[in-house]
């Protein structure tokens, strides 16, 4: 659609060959769009170039071919309009949690008074549940708390596009669940457009509107885009009881286990990399019924 907020057109990334061999193509012909206010996840195996796509979107890396157009303007470099939450929190270790956030806020709004910057930062730290821990340095915070500070910092600058690179990958499963819920709440209120990379299927279904599935690298490409048709607001404990949940989940797992490898050799009919197919396994009544039946059998045994 021509009025999409973020358009990725024919993106490719190649690394030059070391000794006259062929250049290594990480991914090529990547096309997808993101509407304003959407939450899009990208899933794929390691080496398919997910992080590279994110770095190109953030402007930290250059694509070998293709373009990224955000809000009508081409992305040429890093910008405050595109906030990034890195995989390892990337908090500046000599600054306290509060100072890390105020550092970003002051960079965003240069004209604000110190008091205003402080209040703004404290509000976001409270949103992520870190009230009382603002004065601590990153070394004195747990992994989950550090990632929360990273989230607060990214949300506090209110970017147009929020990019998250496996933000919860380094956390244990319990902390991950809690922070995911907090993220949903913050995102609900802020209405931000988000592009997130993850390898956790359940996380993607919980958080995303659309999930972009990538084949295995090298020479990876987008296989399909899955729309998560579960209604919002989503609750981590209740979502698994919805009938469509396992239909979507099975589809994703089956892709990751099987089709991400074989996709290139068995291209589906009519596959066009310029517009990868948009699938809705949650609305496919056969798939849903099968998934529900399988779950009922499993719970009986």
């Amino acid at each position: 659609m021509s009025d999409a907020f973020l358009k990725v057109e024919n993106l490719s990334r190649r690394y030059p060959a070391p000794k006259g061999d062929e250049a290594l193509t990480v991914f090529e012909q990547v096309n997808f769009t993101v509407q304003k206010g959407e939450f899009v996840c990208c899933i794929g195996h390691s080496g398919c170039g997910k992080s590279t796509i994110l770095n190109i979107l953030a402007g930290l890396d250059q694509a070998s071919a293709g373009a990224v157009i955000m809000d009508g303007r081409e992305v040429a470099g890093p910008s405050l309009d595109r906030g990034v939450i890195f995989q390892n929190h990337s908090l500046l270790p000599w600054k306290s949690a509060l100072r890390n956030v105020t550092f970003a806020v002051a960079a965003r709004w240069r004209g604000w008074s110190k008091q205003k910057v402080l209040e703004h930062s404290l509000r976001y730290l409270e949103l992520v549940g870190l009230k009382g821990a603002e004065a601590r340095k990153p070394a004195q915070l747990s992994g989950g708390m550090r990632q929360r500070v990273g989230i607060a910092r990214a949300f506090a600058i209110q970017p147009k596009l929020l990019l998250m690179d496996e933000p919860f990958g380094a956390l244990d499963a319990l902390t991950r669940g809690t922070i995911q819920e907090e993220l949903i709440q913050i995102w609900d209120k802020s209405g931000q457009t988000v592009f997130m990379i993850t390898h956790d299927v359940d996380e993607a279904i919980l958080l995303a509107d659309k999930i972009v599935l990538m084949t295995n690298g090298p020479d990876a490409r987008i296989a399909e885009i899955v729309e998560v048709t579960l209604p919002r607001p989503r609750d981590r404990t209740k979502i698994i009881h919805q009938p469509a949940y396992y239909a979507i989940r099975n589809h994703l797992v089956e892709f990751l286990v099987e089709r991400s490898k074989t996709f290139r050799s068995q291209l589906p009919a009519g596959y066009d990399p310029k517009s990868p197919p948009l699938l809705r396994p949650g609305l496919d009544t056969t798939a849903v019924a099968e998934a529900v039946a399988a779950a009922r059998i499993a719970s009986r045994n």
Binding site: G59, R82, F86, N88, S90, L92, W94, R108
Partner: protein, 285 residues
């Protein structure tokens, strides 16, 4: 069971007492075994029976006490109190050191941030760095023509290298993540350098500064032995020369040579401790 630091302290004291005790016992003045010959009487009694001995710790303490009681006396160019000499040396070291820091840290920054400058300046650094500081002395004396300024220059030229190289290394190896944070926040190059790169590289820069101050102190003592005038190095060397020229001097001067070396070592230790504490505070703060 006593705590580890306390036990270590006790062990240190015991070792010190044992060493001093052995030193003391080994250097008792020999009793005169036989009558001095006529020749020995004429030449002032120096001879095999009264060989110059290493002063014992008790003698050193006594002399040190006397010197320290009035450290700032000034009875002319050849006879100044040890406190005064120390101040001269410290002044020269600090002057040379701060000039070196003022030059090394900004240049190190540029080298660390710019691969172009790093490769361009590398040949000069590799050639100039290994030149012994005292080898600079004749050149400095010839060009600068002033002995004090020359020693300050020698301090400058020897303490600049560790700071330069450590700063460049610290700046070049700042974690990519921090730089990416600065890029996504659209900070300019200068603001990135001051607010992100400099604090990230600070521990390495401080290490370079610690190494430099140690080298500076070594070099000033040696440089002052060469050019003299005032200062701790000159003091030590002067007392040594006085020993040789006039062996009718009493043992006071021999003690002076030893206690000055000791003072130099003690000052170096204090200096090192100081910088180490700043370093530690810098890490926590």
């Amino acid at each position: 069971m006593l705590s580890l630091p306390l036990r270590a302290a006790i062990l240190s004291v015991v070792l010190l007492l044992v060493t001093l005790g052995a030193w003391e016992l080994a250097n008792q003045a020999p009793t005169v075994a036989k009558e001095m010959t006529e020749y020995e009487k004429l030449t002032g009694g120096a001879g095999a029976s009264q060989e110059a001995q290493l002063p014992t710790p008790s003698q050193i303490m006594a002399h040190a006490g006397k010197e320290l009681r009035n450290p700032f006396y000034d009875k002319g160019p050849n006879d100044k109190g040890i406190g005064l000499q120390l101040l001269y040396s410290i002044g020269r070291v600090l002057l040379g050191y701060f000039f070196a820091a003022a030059l090394a840290i900004p240049i190190g920054f540029v080298i660390g941030m710019s691969p172009l400058w790093q490769k361009a300046l590398d040949p000069f650094i590799q050639v100039l760095k290994p030149i012994s500081p005292l080898a600079w002395m004749p050149l400095a004396l010839f060009v600068i023509k002033d002995s004090v300024a020359s020693s300050v220059f020698v301090i400058f030229i020897c303490s600049i290298w560790p700071m330069l190289i450590n700063t460049a290394f610290g700046v070049a190896t700042v974690r990519r993540d921090y730089i990416n944070v600065a890029r996504t926040l659209e900070l300019g190059r200068v603001r990135t350098a001051l607010t992100v790169i400099f604090p990230a590289a600070a521990p390495t820069i401080l290490t370079g500064m610690r190494i430099s101050i140690g080298i500076s102190w070594l070099v000033i003592v040696a440089a002052e032995m060469l050019v003299g005038g005032t200062g701790v190095g000159y003091y030590v060397w002067n007392e040594w020369n006085n020993l040789n020229l006039l062996d009718s001097y009493d043992r006071r001067d021999r003690h002076a040579a030893r206690s000055n070396a000791g003072a130099g070592a003690a000052l170096g230790a204090v200096r090192g401790l100081d910088l180490m504490n700043i370093h530690r505070k810098g890490r926590k703060g």
